[in-house]
């Protein structure tokens, strides 16, 4: 106990079975104090189940959950110092804002003057000092969100759990709340565990992200690690956009692998993982659109392309204009569509559908995974 630092939350081999369904399957992780940790995964992968076990609403089938170093598996939910912001917030409609926030303090037996003081304090901190006597239905979506967080934070929890709390908001408010949540987390300096299936939420806000799939954690890391160095094909495909092909190995030398895609395209790839594949084995290939350079096919020859690169000829099929994030869809000679990021200036020089182009990208940015 004295040697290892105490983590706010520690899950050790936690599993949950519903009948024959393994909703959560041997998940282990630790979360250092004061960090923003996200669990990102597709719908139905077991995120809510994991969260409910931490909060105490479900008992794990096996494994242990420790909060501040102490096992809480035997502790009932109302005795755990873990608070939860529910997906639909679950504010109490029959109480006003003040009563909603005071509820937890009353349960703890705080004195009247202390309650008054703490509620005012937390309302100031979430920058809503004047809403104390409003009814819940008189608040906007974003305000409700903040009240739901304040209601938990007023109790000084060790860990705050948030289950897709932005799911019910419209797009614009979501963007604003993303930044706000991050700021609130800084201000309260409490460990936040944030569940989402929206990757941009997870990447923008978190210090660490766990990618979950079918009840298991595929990878835990910083957003940069997950994006640039995914461990598995699932993570590469789930985080960020990619061009994705499957193919077979034509030649392998260490981590440099030559692959032929099913459409017959030869590619130079970098293998992820330790086991060098055999020739003829199947692989999955991922290339992010921003690593592909698009060049107009002019008189210039392609002789100066070195072996570490991939090059491809094609014709622009369509432009996907989205301001700074614009893309082109290029149809290759093998009749595949490839996405690539481009800068469109609005001038006459811009790429247009029908233009013949070269696509060039580095072999190091061509990730391949054994299937």
């Amino acid at each position: 106990m004295t040697s290892s630092p105490v983590h706010d939350l520690e899950c050790i081999d936690v599993s949950k079975k519903f009948g024959s369904v393994r909703a959560v399957d041997n998940v282990s992780f630790t979360i250092p104090s004061g960090s923003f940790f996200s669990i990102l995964g597709p719908s139905g992968c077991g995120k809510t189940t994991l969260m409910r076990m931490i909060a105490g609403f479900e008992d794990p089938s096996n494994g242990d959950i420790k909060i501040k170093g102490k096992s809480v598996v035997e502790t009932p939910p109302n005795k755990r110092n873990v608070k939860m912001v529910f997906q639909h917030l679950a504010l109490f409609p029959m109480m006003n804002v003040y009563e909603n926030i005071a509820y937890g303090l009353r349960c703890n037996g705080a004195s009247k003057s202390e309650i008054e003081h703490r509620v005012r304090d937390v309302l100031d901190r979430i920058a809503l000092p004047d809403v104390a006597h409003r009814e819940i239905h008189q608040l906007s979506g974003g305000q409700k969100q903040r009240i739901a967080i304040a209601r938990c934070m007023v109790l000084d929890p060790d860990v705050l759990l948030l289950d897709e709390p932005l799911g019910a908001l419209d797009l614009k408010l979501r963007e604003a709340m993303k930044i706000e949540l991050k700021l609130l987390q800084h201000q309260f300096n409490t460990t936040f565990i944030y569940i989402t299936h929206d990757q941009s939420e997870a990447l923008v806000m978190s210090d660490h992200v766990a990618i979950m799939n079918e009840g298991q954690f595929e990878q835990i890391g910083t957003p940069q690690q997950l994006y640039h160095a995914p461990n598995t094909a699932f993570v590469a495909g789930f985080v960020g956009d990619s061009n994705r092909w499957s193919g077979t190995v034509a030649q392998a030398q260490g981590s440099d692998v030559k692959v032929e895609t099913t459409a017959g395209l030869p590619l130079n790839c970098t293998l992820i993982g330790n086991n060098v594949p055999l020739v003829g084995e199947g692989v999955e290939i991922f290339v992010r659109p921003e690593f592909i350079t698009v060049q107009r096919q002019l008189a210039k020859t392609d002789g100066d392309i070195d072996a570490g690169h991939n090059q491809l000829e094609g014709v622009i099929d369509s432009l996907l204009f989205n301001g700074a994030n614009s893309r082109v869809l290029v149809r290759s000679q093998t009749n595949q569509l490839i996405e690539a990021d481009v800068t469109l200036t609005g001038g006459t020089d811009d790429l247009k559908p029908g233009d013949a182009v070269h696509l060039i990208w580095h072999a190091q940015q061509t990730m391949c995974f054994r299937t």
């Binding site: 939910p77 608070k83 939860m84 639909h88 679950a90 109490f92 029959m94 937890g104 349960c107 109790l155």
Partner: protein, 289 residues
């Protein structure tokens, strides 16, 4: 223009049956009752208007004692129906699975298939001196002599609770059904004990259903006739029995009308007090349940 006329016409057509019903079946009979209750017989076929019937009621302790007794027993029945009905309603709405819920709800409705009268006779078959309960107890040797379970207040109350509890369960189920489970979980998560969650979250949330259930049950009980008479016998001293006696036995319609009106006024007063005490309004009760 045309659109407006059609709207107005349809409004009138929809409203007419309602207005007729209110006027013919509710307002006119009650006005008739009030007028009737204000008449006094001074000589054969000679009537005078005055408060004599109400004064008679006040001067005769048996009458207003019966009214108070009916009121307090009805309150007791209402409270019992609430205490027993709430867990049942909670189970049906929140704990039972989707399929069991329908079956349980249907089970609650089954007693309505049978008329009041038959149900009361059912109780009599069970509880009379030679009835099922008494015989079984005798057979098992728990009692030596046959016991008469009928004709006492407890039996009347049990019978009444049984008759009206359904009207408590239905509005409770419908309000509790709308309650988001995560609200209860939030109540626990924020540190509340089971009792706190019940008192501060579930009951306040179900309040509209509780109030409307209580109003219906109280009114039905106070106005019931068959169950108290059949299970309580001659001494049940239920106020409806007094009204019946005035109208039918004594053929004194004037005082019967006054009694009827007093029962209405008294129960309305109790309901109004109840609403005031729980801080509910009739409008939000009706809207939410």
């Amino acid at each position: 223009m045309l659109q407006k006329d059609i709207k107005r016409l349809s409004l009138i057509m929809l409203f007419t049956p309602f207005a007729l019903w209110i006027a013919l079946l509710i307002i006119i009979p009650h006005l008739g009752m009030v007028v009737l209750s204000l008449r006094e017989k001074v000589a054969p076929r000679v009537y005078e208007y005055g408060l004599g019937n109400y004064v008679d009621f006040m001067n005769e302790p048996i009458y207003w004692n019966t009214l108070l007794r009916t009121g307090s027993m009805s309150l007791l029945v209402t409270a019992l129906a609430l205490i027993i009905g709430f867990p049942i309603a909670y189970y049906i709405a929140k704990i039972a699975g989707y399929r069991t819920r329908g079956a349980l709800f249907l089970l609650c409705l089954i007693p309505l298939w049978v008329s009041d009268l038959i149900r009361a006779f059912g109780w009599i078959l069970l509880l009379r001196e030679t009835g099922v309960v008494s015989s079984v107890l005798q057979w098992s040797g728990l009692i030596g002599e046959p016991i008469e379970f009928l004709y006492n207040d407890i039996t009347v109350i049990v019978g009444l609770v049984y008759t009206v509890i359904l009207f408590m369960i239905v509005p409770l189920v419908s309000t509790l059904d709308g309650m988001d489970e995560s609200m209860v979980e939030a109540g626990y998560n924020l540190g509340g004990s089971g009792f706190t969650v019940l008192r501060r979250i579930i009951v306040p949330y179900a309040m509209p259903g509780i109030v409307s259930g209580c109003i219906v049950v109280f009114m039905l009980t106070a106005g019931s006739y068959l169950t108290p008479i059949l299970l309580g016998g001659k001494n049940s001293s239920w106020f409806t029995e007094q009204i019946y006696e005035q109208f039918i036995t004594r053929f004194n319609w004037e005082s019967g009308a006054a009694f009827g009106f007093l029962l209405l006024a008294f129960t309305s007063l109790v309901v109004w007090l109840g609403l005031r005490l729980t801080g509910q309004t009739l409008a939000n009760t009706v809207a939410k349940s």
